[in-house]
């Protein structure tokens, strides 16, 4: 339901009339803009700039943290369309739909255009000089340990400047927060492989078993994995890789799998151990201590616990034994529980036993400039900041690149705790939920008009530094880049060190040029090096693979049994991370709201996904508005009945339900973050995203769901577009 004031039909009507007027004035003998519109003309221009012909400039996509290289098509000084940069080994010239919408972040009508200072309920526009002076003054009045910087994942020169600024303040309180991040998997990887983010080589695997990792949709570096996946499916030797997806709610990757196994939520670790046991029984050599641990995970028991049939467990084990190397991936669905770390470890153990480490799980490369290496975030960081705020330990708070008021569960009471912070500075593009709480809002340049360097967490080959450069002039003179702001703040603290840099660009250029030897430019002069760097958009760094040192031991690995029934809250809530909305930071880009969810085809709204059996039991049909209530809160949304979900599970996508941010995000759908229960992973302290138990009740109304598919999944009118075979006619013995 779109609950905000504009009504869709009215909107179309207005558009129709507007269109008609334009069309009329275009007909007949009058040209439309004679004598009214201006012709694009330049003061000075390069020879290759020809009006109406696009010129491409390379930069870096900032829509998600994968850091794909992009090429922006620029015409008449305006960026029109983004493509992938073929020089970037992450995406090799390809892009995803979320990345495409980057232009809408840039041209967005709801961007903040000048610094705003709180005056009661309103924000008053103030000049930058005054804003920066105010920060200086506020910081001078508090102790360094009471200053906190909350950011999303940062890397490159902005990170280096941020660290220098924090050092200059004498405060080390940098909280890196990511609302949706594989942080439990990172911790488990560190333990088992010695590195947080090993390279996964889907292209080398013959079988991939993914425990809820949506690597084709929203997981880590989806464009990169999609390309690997293509090679995995169509290998050079002609052997088609087999993908088995184990999860409780079907993701885009699950929909592409050869076999999709609906598993009882939280029992992924049990299945992994059961598979090791079955493999050992089938003759795979398994170390003694592992064998001892998995012995009790007999196929019968595992089947009973996980809900995956004994037949499928046997078949999966046989497949893994037969085709090597394989690759087993622990995704967000496996790690989202209080025992998420154990699940992830059990899955890593399976990889180890299968001998995949070193073959399809490869060592990443060392990063030559550690001060620019990505700081990855987690939810634990927000929790500790929140605790400190609650205890009045934070007097000045900076927030950049995150929207915690939107993404924090209601049970954290973050909004109340923020009120205890006397001075809050928010760097923002939109007046989002967090910016609304700020005392000072500083408007940022869009990613397409800003300078930065980016070092993505997951790089496919070697180490790489991405260049982010303006593709066009700033749209609004009152915005600034994060690098420029940090530089200005640093000039207040360490004038001698930084006064030589007029702006962030000159800092960046001199920092890069003075290190050109390590950046592959030792034989060229400064200008040539810099021009080449900007024109390529990526710099390959000299690096060597790190040693994967860690080891998985089965000792102490306990995976708890399946969840006990909870009669008050009978269902598990899976907050789904969709390929376009992710954690909701891009929700104000209308293309993303308008592009149908790949599985349900729903647009412009949230939905509650539910298995037909569950729906029948509750007497619910598609379009019923239901209340989904957890111990921490309740939301109301329309039901979508879908077979790709475990009957014990209901799922609501994340990213919807903004109360602010802009015209396209506000009031569309409901915010599933809010009702998450405060359950944490026992080892890492991370919020366990999939632990929330809910109950579902009808709220009375019924709506027609706005979606692309027709009734009954699309009426094919006998055209056999997608051929269906009923399951009792399929010869399962020929299937995976």
């Amino acid at each position: 339901m779109i609950e905000n004031s504009f009504n869709r039909r009215g909107f179309l009507k207005v558009l129709g009339w507007g269109g008609a007027t334009v069309a009329l004035s275009g007909c007949g003998n009058t040209s439309v803009e004679d004598g009214r519109e201006f012709v694009t003309s330049y003061v000075q221009t390069a020879d290759y700039i020809i009006p109406s012909i696009g010129t491409y400039f390379n930069s870096t996509c900032a829509q998600c943290d994968a850091g794909c290289g992009i090429m922006g098509r620029v015409r008449e000084g305006r960026v029109l369309k983004l493509e992938g940069n073929p020089k970037s080994s992450i995406n090799n010239g390809k892009m995803c739909g979320l990345g495409q919408a980057g232009v809408q972040a840039h041209y967005n009508p709801d961007r903040i255009r000048e610094p705003l200072l709180r005056n009661g309920d309103k924000g008053e526009a103030i000049p930058w000089g005054k804003a920066l002076e105010l920060i200086n003054e506020k910081i001078g009045g508090v102790k360094a340990e009471n200053i906190a910087f909350l950011t999303g994942g940062v890397s490159g020169h902005v990170k280096a400047l941020l660290k220098n600024y924090l050092d200059a303040l004498g405060s080390g309180h940098h909280y890196v927060y990511e609302a949706v991040a594989p942080s439990i998997m990172r911790a488990a990887n560190r333990k088992t492989y010695g590195v947080e983010m090993p390279r996964l080589r889907l292209d080398k695997a013959k079988v991939v078993v993914s425990f809820g990792a949506d690597f084709l949709g929203a997981w880590i570096s989806p464009v990169h994995f999609s390309q690997q996946y293509a090679r995995f499916r169509k290998a050079d030797n002609g052997e088609r890789g087999v993908l088995v997806q184990v999860e409780s709610k079907m993701t885009l990757t699950g929909a592409n799998a050869d076999r999709w196994l609906a598993i009882r939520p939280g029992t992924e670790g049990i299945l992994a151990l059961g598979l090791i046991n079955a493999l050992a029984a089938a003759g795979l050599s398994v170390p003694g201590d592992v064998a001892a641990v998995v012995r009790e995970y007999t196929t019968d028991r595992v089947s009973k616990d996980t809900g995956v049939s004994a037949e499928h467990i046997g078949r999966l084990a046989a497949l893994l034994k037969e085709r090597s190397p394989s690759l087993v991936i622990a995704g967000s669905a496996a790690e989202g529980y209080a025992h998420g770390s154990q699940n992830a470890t059990a899955i890593a153990l399976l990889n180890q036993v299968l001998g995949n480490v070193g073959k399809t799980v490869e060592a990443p490369s060392s990063i030559p400039f550690p001060q620019m290496a990505p700081s990855t975030g987690n939810r634990f960081a927000l929790q500790s900041l929140n605790d400190n705020m609650a205890q009045d330990k934070v007097k000045v708070l900076f927030s950049y690149g995150v929207n915690p008021v939107f993404t924090a569960p209601a049970s954290m009471k973050l909004k109340e705790n923020l009120k205890k912070v006397p001075f809050k500075v928010v760097f923002a593009h939109y007046m989002d939920e967090t910016a609304l709480e700020a005392d000072l809002v500083l408007p940022l340049n869009s990613a397409l008009e800003d300078w930065a360097t980016v070092m993505p967490e997951y790089v496919a080959e070697g180490a790489q530094l991405n260049i982010q450069q303006p593709l066009m002039e700033k749209l609004y003179p009152g915005t600034l880049g994060m690098g420029d702001i940090l530089l200005a703040l640093l000039k207040q603290r360490r004038p001698d060190e930084y006064k030589g840099y007029e702006d962030f660009y000159s800092y960046l250029r001199s920092a890069m040029v003075s290190n050109k030897g390590a950046l592959g430019g030792s034989t060229t002069d400064d200008d040539t090096f810099w021009d080449a760097t900007l024109s390529h958009g990526v710099v390959k760094l000299v690096s060597t693979p790190v040693n994967m040192s860690g080891n998985v031991s089965a000792k102490g690995l306990v995976v708890p049994g399946p969840f006990a029934e909870d009669s008050a809250y009978p269902f598990h809530l899976i907050p789904a991370v969709s390929a376009s909305l992710r954690d909701g930071r891009n929700a104000n880009e209308p293309w993303l709201q308008e592009s149908p969810d790949p599985l349900t085809t729903i647009v412009w709204d949230s939905w509650v996904e539910m298995h037909p059996k569950t729906a029948a039991k509750l007497g619910i049909v598609e379009g019923d508005i239901v209340e989904v209530a957890s111990r921490s809160g309740a939301i109301k949304a329309q039901v979508y009945v879908f077979t790709g979900i475990h009957p014990d599970v209901i799922s609501v996508p994340l990213g919807y339900g903004h109360e602010a941010m802009g015209r396209y995000a506000k009031g569309v759908g409901v915010n599933a973050f809010k009702i998450l229960d405060p359950v944490f992973d026992k080892e890492t302290g991370e919020l366990a995203m999939h632990e929330t138990r809910v109950k579902v009740s009808k709220a009375g109304r019924r709506v027609v769901i706005v979606k692309d598919e027709g009734p009954a999944g699309g009426n094919q009118m006998g055209r056999k577009i997608a051929v269906r075979v009923s399951s009792n006619k399929v010869n399962l013995s020929e299937e995976v």
Binding site: G26, V32, G35, F38, Q44, I50
Partner: protein, 201 residues
Amino acid sequence: MYCFLRFSILLVGLIVSAGSYAVNAAQPLTTADDLGPKVEQPIEFPHDRHAGDAAKGGMQINCMYCHTYARRSIVAGIPPLQKCIGCHQNIESVRETPRIKKLFEYWEAKKAVPWKKVHDLPDFVRFNHERHIQRFVFAQNKPVQEACGYCHGDVKTMTVARRQKPLSMGWCVSCHQKDHPVDATSTKTTHGPNDCWQCHK
């Protein structure tokens, strides 16, 4: 004598056009009504001085010297200010005239001159300069001013350009239906494309 000659040519032109109008019942060619609005420009640019005949004090500069994009882009484009300055910084004689002073003011402020559009088509029409210039000027060896003049009129006699032709679809088609030789030497003829999508993409 000169005047008379010109007048008679004009007369012949009028009769011919009237004749073709009668025969093809096509849209009228240039009439007084086809003139576009008078467009006021930030600087009253004298096309006649730059492109006009030497006999009338013009410099006879090729249209494509300034509108350099016409042969390689769908738009003819306005030259960057740097091009104007490139010549004018060496022309001392007019340096202090009001228009040139204004020009240098823009240059010193590094601001582009806000020229207004004189010829514009609705957004659903895609007119390609490059195709026409390549065909007429480069393949058929037509004089540049004649080729440009098919649509823009006799710009070399104007100061600020003003639309001279209707630029309506019927008017475009009336020309596209005419046969013309494929290139300067060939006897083979062809006519302009007639497919909807050539212009309505």
